[in-house]
Amino acid sequence: MPFLEMRDVHKRFGGVVALDGASLSAEPGELHALLGANGSGKSTLNKTLTGVVAADRAEVLLDGQPVTLRGPREAQARGISAVYQELSLVPDLSVEDNVALGVEPARFGFVDRREQRRTVRGVVERFGSAFEGRLPLDTPVAGLPPGEQQIVEICKAVARDPRILVLDEATASLHEAQVRALFEALRDLKDRGVLVIFTSHRLEEVFELCDRATVLRSGATVGTVELAAADQAEVVRMMLGRSIDRIERDRTEAPEARRVVLEVRGLITDRLRDVSFTVETGEVLGVAGLQGQGQDELLEALFGAARISSGEVRLDGKPIHPRSPRQAVRERIALIPGERAREGLFSRRPILENLTLASVGRRALPGGLLRGARERRAAGDAVRRLQIKLGRLLDPVLTLSGGNQQKVVVGRWLLTEPRVILMDDPTKGIDVGAKEELYSSMRRLADEGVAIVFHSSENLELVRLCGRVLVLFEGRVVQVLEGDQVTEDRLLEASVGVDQVPG
């Protein structure tokens, strides 16, 4: 009888299936990894276990006893504590108060400060080397660098004296010494009989630290492997599944006389490390990687929404310094965000208004008066170019299907006549038919000579649309795949930092 057993876990978010019969079984005193590509359901499974997400259907057994976990409080009461990707620290409270939050030692309703200090110090000291030798117990967490905040978060979970500790991408913001300190502490917990469930995008870390790994694909469990007896390539193949030999590609043919529109050299921001690339007219350049490797930040930096600390951006050979989205729009760069975009629509206002919003100033008379005919012509133009299916231009946007709503967002930016369109995972959360429509719109735009930088969390999409893909890993471009190299296997390998999978 396993210590922890999760069986037949199902969860849908709206139309998206996150978990489709996933399972997991683990023993006390084990370092158990949870692996999978983007969207395979790792985080959802973790959150089901910690009570943050309520599964649609699930069997969870602890010590053979079925349990239901409603909310983090209940999970904690059963000895399950977690370190989430999003920090759960209160910025103004001190490190000590944060670590003890919710489990303060109390006598007659008063915090026993001496006892609190003793226990918190005991936990934080185990991570001593992660704090460069000092123990910042009285510092407000807002004053610590991100890596140390992450360690405090881990201390907080450990201070709850858990039987199961869930770490979801807990090493993402840590530097080497901190990772060492963490691993040491985790091995120590293992020796005390704690079950650690560990998720990391760094495959090497997983192999170094963990005993076994459960691999998820498309919301279901593929299998569990003994890591000592497995190699990285084998695990990657499990994550990927059967490789797809031939898929239909609708990459744009290179038009005659392509030229470089956007040139980025040595771009450095908070999360990007020395990123360089070029995009040509009519090209759809893909941006790939596991979630949160700097893809969003790259697009935001080019759009003036993230601070650039150094590096050069040239548009048509002329250096530009995008410092605000307004400036970027003036340089004719457009950013089409993903899911948030549809939230940015004014759903009860007419399609016409939604389409013309970003470009309305260009067509207005001096003094800001609008000319109805010109507005209608502009909106009609966008509708034609993107083939938006609608009743009348004056119908509210909410009468449109999801895909067509997304096209309205594209159309809004199209009317600013962009030379470069940045797309941030635009198909996330829309149905298959709508995706197809969006792809054909993208193709048409590229054929018109617009340069598109296309970030997607779905590798298959990149394989279909892009002749060239940058793969980001921890803020660096680790590989540029071109032409026939752009396959799902190669994308995934590059994303997890494996150079080449033989065979």
């Binding site: 943050v52 983090p72 409080r73 759960s88 910025p91 103004d92 915090v111 907080k156």
Partner: protein, 332 residues
């Protein structure tokens, strides 16, 4: 050495132990100006009388601090205080024997009103700013039903004790010290810790297993309780009940002036209106500063309408001050 001292001072300020530099400076200035304008400012009569006038606002500002720290705001506080005071005075009828009952009623009404506010905010999920403003009219309506005109009689023992002094220290000053002590108890309790956590980041507090709704409700209950104390101080200071005490001059907004002043005291005292940072120590300083400023305005012979104007301007100035980087307590 100096570095160390500065650090421990700033840590102290963060924890609300030492009122911030701003408060101290403003306090010294207002005291100096008061002393200049009123030569007998330090006479024992004047000191007692001043401290007596501080207590209601001090209690109200602690009440508001607790609510604000937890991420809320209480715009019904002034009305609730007025309601507590009229309920209490109507029950007393000048009879010293009923004093314990009247005290219990004042505190009880405050706590019950706070509970109501808290339940509305936490469970009906209404915006505190709107919900409590609406509640202020509910409390005002009940107030006018209970005591439509100024009246009622406070037992003499209450007023004389209040204006007495013990070994040279005014009783009112001891009351303020006692209120600070109560605040200290709240701060040191588990509830107090959770108050800071919920006000600082509600989601993080929830993920840490803090009972967020319970904490929010309790912040209003505690606020109402301190409001009850403010109500008693008003009665002891004035000797009778008045539905229009603390209302803005010339308006029927019951307790409106008290509410605004309590928020101003919180802001001057360095508690962030977004919640989670600050403490009642600063607010007490802020309340005293406001009382001294209204003394100055009074000495200067400024008429009622302008006094309103100046009071409003002071609040805006205090809010603006918190936006000046040099006065900010924590880096953004």
């Amino acid at each position: 050495m100096i570095d160390r001292a500065v650090r421990s001072l700033t840590v102290g300020m963060r924890r609300g132990l030492v009122p911030g530099l701003t408060v101290t400076t403003l306090l010294l200035i207002t005291v100096a100006v008061n002393a200049l304008l009123a030569p007998n400012f330090f006479s024992s009569y004047s000191v007692i009388s001043n401290f007596s006038s501080f207590v209601p606002l001090v209690a109200a500002s602690i009440a508001q601090t607790i609510v604000v720290l937890g991420g809320g705001i209480d715009l019904s506080l002034g009305a609730l205080i007025t309601l507590s005071s009229v309920m209490s005075v109507v029950l007393m009828e000048g009879d010293p024997g009923r004093l314990p009952l009247a005290v219990a009623v004042a505190i009880g009404v405050g706590a019950a009103g706070g509970l109501l506010n808290g339940l509305i905010v936490a469970f009906l999920r209404l915006q505190p700013i709107v919900a409590t403003f609406a509640m202020s009219f509910v409390f005002a309506g009940i107030t006018l039903k209970v005591l439509p005109q100024p009246g009622g009689q406070v037992p003499a023992v209450m007023t004389t004790t209040y204006r007495d002094s013990v070994i040279g220290i005014p009783v009112a000053a001891l009351v303020i010290a006692g209120l600070y002590g109560l605040w200290w108890v709240v701060k040191r309790s588990t509830l107090g810790r959770h108050l800071y956590a919920v006000g600082g980041d509600e989601r993080a507090a929830y993920a840490s297993g803090v009972r967020v709704n319970q904490v929010r409700v309790m912040s209003y209950v505690l606020g109402g309780t301190f409001g009850g104390v403010a109500a008693l101080a008003i009665l002891a200071n004035t000797g009778s009940g008045d539905p229009y005490v603390g209302a803005a001059v010339g308006t029927a907004l019951i307790g409106g002036q008290t509410t605004l002043a309590s928020i101003a005291a919180v802001v001057i005292g360095g508690t962030a209106l977004r919640g989670g940072v600050g403490g009642a120590g600063g607010s007490i300083g802020g309340a005293v500063i406001l009382a001294l400023v209204s003394n100055i305005v009074f000495f200067a012979g400024i008429s009622g309408g302008y006094r309103q104007l100046i009071n409003g301007a002071i609040v805006i100035a205090a809010l603006a001050l918190t936006a000046v980087p040099a006065f900010r307590r924590s880096p953004a």
